[in-house]
């Protein structure tokens, strides 16, 4: 095999593959990249047998072939070359010769036929989603998922396809985030006459997808076949398992009506929460939010018997509110939730001190209302 390729193209491709390179030593071939020529293109694959990724790279193929090369070594070499260099790869006597303007390298390679075959989807993809909104949604959702393998269904995000919309949600059972995307194109639904279809996609897979959606990518193609998910993002193909389980019926717990709704400055709230959590971190990880509609403010309080106590007062815009209300939270869940918002102001809504509370973005104009909601459960307890 012989080919010529730019350092930039190769770096980009290897970066997309890096994270799925297998680490287990039982099957050493998995810590390799598979290089092969296909229809005059260079195809590089990597897999850990849970996710498989294939990337097509622009290159000039001079001689066809196939080999597996140790991933770490190749990545290190290519990444550290000066930008803009052109790289020549040639397979000779079981060794890969790499030549660039400044540096050469020889690496022992393995036979490509021992590399696992990555399943691919060969038909036309039935579902095409707009990539950028998905990427944005994922960035605000994935941190909510659980990494506790004992509840496998929470280690993924649910994609719930319905007639007019796609809802994506992730939760670790303490907090939850959901984003609803309206379809813009005809091919955005996976429904085949069914009323709704739910898919739980592993977080790792979604992270890879999110990484592969670069700013210029427009479409995310999706297909399901035989309990496997196939994605195509421009020149990247990803195959993954589907999590087999039942995602909690979370829509029920998001309240439709609230007794208290208050708009707060996001940055100010984050600041007071960070101050408060320095105290609570040593104690129980709890802080109290006291909402007082009559004085139009919100007080953040934390106390630690060993260290001391703190309180900050924030002015709020009470859109709705009856009497004073105290809620107790783990500040980590509040802060993580807030970091998902880009708007300047957020709306905090709650009913009682023991029912779910939410954060939403405050948009100036109602038409443009973002369909993202972050739900958290308060800790029910007297805060003395």
């Amino acid at each position: 095999m012989k080919l010529i390729c730019t350092q930039e193209n190769l770096t980009q491709a290897l970066n997309a593959l890096d994270r799925v390179v297998g680490k287990q030593s039982s099957l050493p071939i998995l810590s390799n990249f598979l290089f092969e020529s296909e229809n005059g293109r260079l195809k590089i694959s990597a897999t850990n047998l849970e996710i498989g990724i294939i990337v097509f790279v622009g290159a000039k193929i001079e001689k066809e072939g196939k080999f597996a090369v140790p991933a770490r070594i190749l990545s290190q070499f290519v990444q550290n070359l000066p930008q803009g260099e052109v790289l020549e790869l040639e397979l000779k006597d079981g060794q890969l010769l790499l030549k660039s303007g400044s540096s050469d390298m020889k690496i022992k390679v393995l036979d490509g036929k021992d590399f696992p075959i990555i399943p691919t989807f060969k038909k036309e993809y039935p579902v095409i989603l707009l990539a950028q909104p998905i990427k944005q949604a994922l960035s605000r959702l994935l941190f909510c998922a659980s990494n506790n393998e004992s509840r496998i269904e929470l280690t993924g995000a649910q994609f719930l396809f319905e007639e007019k919309q796609l809802s994506i949600a992730a939760t670790d059972s303490f907090r939850l985030a959901e984003e609803v995307l309206k379809y813009n194109q005809a091919k955005e639904s996976i429904l085949n006459g069914e009323e709704s279809k739910s898919l739980i996609i592993p977080i790792n897979t979604l992270q890879e997808i999110s990484r592969s959606i670069t700013p210029e990518v427009e479409e995310l193609k999706v297909a399901i076949e035989e309990h496997q998910l196939f994605f195509e993002i421009d020149n990247v193909q990803i195959v993954s398992r589907i999590i087999n389980g039942r995602f909690p019926d979370y829509k029920q717990i998001i309240p439709k009506e609230f007794l208290l709704r208050v708009a707060l400055e996001k940055e100010a709230l984050i600041r007071s929460l960070k101050i408060a959590s320095t105290l609570s971190a040593y104690n129980t990880g709890e802080i109290a939010l006291i909402f007082n509609p009559e004085e139009e403010n919100c007080t953040v309080i934390s106390k630690s018997q060993e260290i001391g106590e703190n309180s900050s007062v924030l002015m709020g815009d009470f859109l709705k509110g009856a009497g004073p209300l105290t809620l107790i939270f783990n500040p980590r869940y509040l802060l993580e939730g807030l970091s998902a918002f880009s708007s300047k102001k957020i709306v905090f809504s709650a009913n009682t001190s023991s029912s779910p509370a939410t954060f939403e973005a405050l948009e100036e104009n109602e038409e443009n209302k973002a369909e993202y909601v972050y739900v958290m459960m308060p800790i029910r307890k007297e805060y003395a």
Partner: protein, 480 residues
């Protein structure tokens, strides 16, 4: 031949021709789903295995299949999921659904209290699948409601342990803290431990209870270190009102775990939270246990459970029979109790075996049938030990060399193990006295006889010797 058997045979053949890593990677969780019209359909766990089996190993598999079933012409793979999680009910979220529906806001019952805690506190246990309150509590405490004081049979071998446990369950943290229970395999330590938890849960549902084996404790600790959540881990355990650690002997040799356990232990102990610990041997006998932990274990109450007497064994069996509404002859029960004397769990196993067999064959569970059914089981028990294993167990137990036992030396450190060895060889293997003498460097058979009688007598009078013998027998039969 069923599909399962056929597939097992195929795997057996394939395993020989592949490396272990390859075999496990590609053939784990595969099965033969159906064979029809000369086509075999193989279920595989994922797409990678499907591609690999169909493209790389197809000839291997086909060849192996055809040696067993020549009618098979081709194979095909399909991804079949047999995920145990499909039947699981959604848990914590469904609870927060409950909590979320705004009903009687003011009634803060014990019920919702427990539930609330479960939602907010990081839970380290992985068990618990259902929605009912009873089971929710397990989710955290990992208790099994089957084990209660009511169905624990008290006899002279466990009287003290039972009394101590019961007292502790009534006065958490006030009486014996920590409570340390030790005893052999299958004598009911876990039952007693869980009973404490269940009793406390029934009387004080608001108390936070955690039952955990030291093995699981270690795993959780390692996980929490891995996920950098060690603080949450510590905090979680330090909030318990009652912490029950089972099989603590497995902590031996794990320094970091012992260290963390030590801190949790201290934190709980200082605020008078109850700690209950079980082990298969007294704290002194647990090797490589840090001194400070050992002294703490010994600071509370230590009590043991010894082996049940014949009467107790019969009582245990009768209560099982009653509990399950089975019918079996008195004589048959007595026979089981007489022949299985080591371990309560085995006792139950034997009973179940007899009942199941008789039920299946539609024959009465009387003495004659019981003897027939159990003969195999009893044989197996005996066969397990050999002269060599007796030798090595004795050497290990008393830390003596094999040669010393055979030599002439008469030091007490050597002569006592030698006498016990003779006793065990005679008692357990019915080896003739003269043979035993020959094995031990040509000693006279009267020497052996003397040793046998001496130990036999001491066994009755000295509890220390009795305990020694039991522990040796336990090692012989269970840890092979």
């Amino acid at each position: 031949m069923t599909h399962d058997d056929l597939w097992k045979a195929v795997l057996g053949q394939i395993e020989l021709s592949l490396s272990k890593a390859n075999f496990i990677t590609w053939f784990k969780n595969t099965n033969l789903l159906e064979v029809s019209d000369g086509k075999a359909l193989i279920g595989v766990p994922n797409g990678f295995a499907k591609e690999w089996l169909e493209n790389k190993y197809n000839t291997h598999i086909l060849k192996a299949l055809r040696t067993l079933d020549p009618s098979i012409q081709s194979i095909r793979c399909t991804i079949s999921l047999s995920d145990p999680h499909t039947n699981q009910q959604p848990k914590p979220i469904s609870r927060s659904i409950d909590a979320a529906i705004p009903r009687n806001e003011n009634t803060e019952t014990a019920n919702s209290f427990v539930r609330k805690k479960l939602i907010e506190k990081p839970s380290f246990s992985s068990e618990g699948t259902s929605v009912s309150l009873q089971k929710e509590v397990f989710h955290e405490s990992s208790l099994n409601s089957r084990y209660t004081f009511e169905n624990y049979i008290v006899a002279e071998n466990n009287e003290l342990a039972h009394a101590a446990c019961h007292a502790v369950s009534q006065n958490l943290g006030m009486l014996y803290n920590p409570l340390f229970i030790y005893g052999g395999v299958g004598l009911g330590k876990t039952h007693l431990l869980q009973s404490i938890g269940n009793e406390v849960m029934r009387n004080h549902p608001e108390k936070r209870i955690k039952y955990i084996t030291s093995e699981r404790f270690t795993t959780e600790l390692v996980d929490s270190i891995k996920n950098q959540k060690i603080d949450i881990f510590k905090e979680y355990y330090q909030q318990m009102d009652l912490l029950i650690i089972d099989d603590v002997q497995f902590l031996s040799g794990r320094e970091k775990t012992q260290n963390e356990f030590f801190h949790i232990f201290n934190a709980l102990y200082q605020i008078n939270k109850q700690i209950v610990i079980s082990s298969d041997r007294p704290p002194k006998a647990i090797g490589t246990l840090e001194e400070r932990l050992r002294s703490r274990f010994e600071g509370g109450m230590i009590t043991d459970i010894s082996q049940p007497s014949l009467e107790t064994r019969i009582a245990i069996l009768s209560s099982k029979v009653q509990e399950k509404g089975l019918s079996i002859d008195e004589d048959a029960l007595r026979f089981i109790a007489q022949n299985i004397n080591q371990n309560v769990r085995e006792l139950e196993g034997a009973l179940n075996r007899v009942i199941a067999y008789c039920d299946f064959r539609k024959i009465p569970a009387n003495l004659a049938n019981t003897e027939k059914i159990l003969v195999e089981l009893l044989e197996k028990n005996r066969k397990n030990i050999s002269t060599e294993s007796v030798f090595s167990t004795i050497c290990e137990y008393y830390s003596v060399e094999h040669e010393d036992l055979i030599k002439k030396g008469r030091k007490k450190e050597i002569s006592h193990p030698r006498q016990v060895l003779m006793y065990i060889l005679r008692q357990e293997l019915s080896t003739p006295f003269s043979t035993i003498g020959d094995m031990l460097g040509g000693r006279d058979h009267t020497t052996v006889l003397h040793a046998f009688e001496k130990i036999n007598k001491e066994k009755e009078t000295s509890p220390k010797i009795k305990e020694e013998l039991n522990q040796i027998k336990e090692r012989l039969y269970y840890i092979s």
